[in-house]
Symmetry: C2
Subunit: 248 residues, 2 copies
């Protein structure tokens, strides 16, 4: 074990500093998949912290899915890849960047409107309140891959029409200017065929296979924030998912 000492003056918690040092060495291949990490006791001694603190560091690595522990044996590095190109609660922009692709957008519609029935239902709105409606064509490296239509209650982002650069990431703007962070999104994916208008906008023949997405995004509190309907080209877009077991 060869790990740099902790900064006891830092505001960063000790367990977090330990976690980062271990993570670094896992990524660097010092601890390889299948191998065991230092035990809780060893970590406690090496960093001169209590065993509970060392344990918390190992626990947080488990929560990341990087390691797993077996009672009586130890904590081991998982061989499961950490890659980030799985779909998460992210915008198109973030997803494309994670895949090393340059995202671009063309705005078709960007206005404040009264919520329709479907939107009221999806966002759990009690009144027909105002929502920001944004419809964009999405490009990956200059070729069109999908059409996205987002609706967000105006109340939570009052001047979005002025502040959003439609080329930029909607999610980034919401996070930076309004402190809104999506925690979870539920989505339904259907397989269908491109219809006339869509096919035209996407530059494909009608009846080409497409994905139809219906997504609702939530804050950690459970408040519904965004309702999105999208159409993506089946010939240029693949869904990459990581499925996990439910904890309970």
């Amino acid at each position: 074990m060869n790990l740099a000492p902790l900064d006891r003056e830092s505001v960063i918690p000790l367990y977090y500093q330990i976690r980062e040092r271990l993570l670094e060495q896992i990524r660097a291949g010092v601890f390889k998949p299948g191998q065991s990490l230092p035990s809780e006791q060893e970590i406690a001694e090496h960093f001169a912290v209590s065993r509970m603190t060392g344990r918390q560091a190992l626990k947080s690595l488990r929560d990341l899915g990087v390691t797993y522990s077996v009672r009586g044996k130890g904590t081991f590095v998982s061989a499961i890849k950490l890659e980030k190109d799985f779909r998460q609660v992210t915008s198109f922009t973030e997803e494309m960047k994670a895949r090393g692709i340059r995202p671009k957008s063309k705005v078709l519609f960007f206005e404040v409107v009264k919520a329709d029935e479907e939107t009221m239902n999806a966002l759990q709105l009690k009144t027909r309140e105002s929502v920001v409606s944004l419809r964009r064509i999405r490009f990956a490296n200059t070729s069109p891959v999908g059409i996205e239509w987002s609706r967000i209650p105006q109340r939570i982002c009052p001047d979005l029409l002025k502040t959003l650069d439609p080329q930029a990431s909607l999610y980034e703007t919401l996070a930076q200017r309004y402190g809104i962070k999506m925690a979870i999104a539920d989505e339904i994916v259907e397989a269908g065929l491109a219809r006339g208008e869509e096919a035209g906008l996407l530059g494909i023949a009608a009846k080409t296979p497409v994905f139809l997405f219906t997504r609702i995004s939530y804050l950690q509190s459970g408040e519904a924030i965004e309702f999105v309907k999208s159409v993506y080209r089946g010939d240029r877009y693949k869904i990459v998912n990581r499925l996990t077991r439910l904890k309970a």
Copy 2:
């Protein structure tokens, strides 16, 4: 707060008992979304445990996604639904049952064969070892919805050909007889059109939209256990996903 006392003789950990009691009351609506749960201190006093134990109970609820905590304010019930009809690392059988649908299967092929290139690659096999190859038509309430083709190294389930009832859940058999529990699965979903043989087996016209799944399932250790290629009817099957933020 009105929570039954703990069983101090039980082998079930105290924090887990507390967690279950809180979960029960959340499900029963005693604690409603948006409302706060008892504080760590209150839990410690009420159950006569240390604050750390009460804290662990609340922490485990957060890990489930049922609640969230705000420093200085408290722990609150999330309004996000707990429903289990999201896709997880589950078999067709489990997924259908969770949706209240009767699953059925018809076996097309069930034999031990030498792994082909694609399977060797997917399952990280170093030699052309034997794999159990199982191809089935999947029915939901008597109508065909998909075709699944699984391959599993024979070495990890030596006599599967004899022990598996092809009507039963493959995953259940693997778990019960061989102690194999899938922890994670990575999948790619593509949109396509049904081809001749598939269309026939699924009872649909050629060129109907279909989902094409390619999935690899892993143990927690990262060992690849199952390689599956599937075709599902786009007109009768929808993908229901829950996306989350990566922890790191």
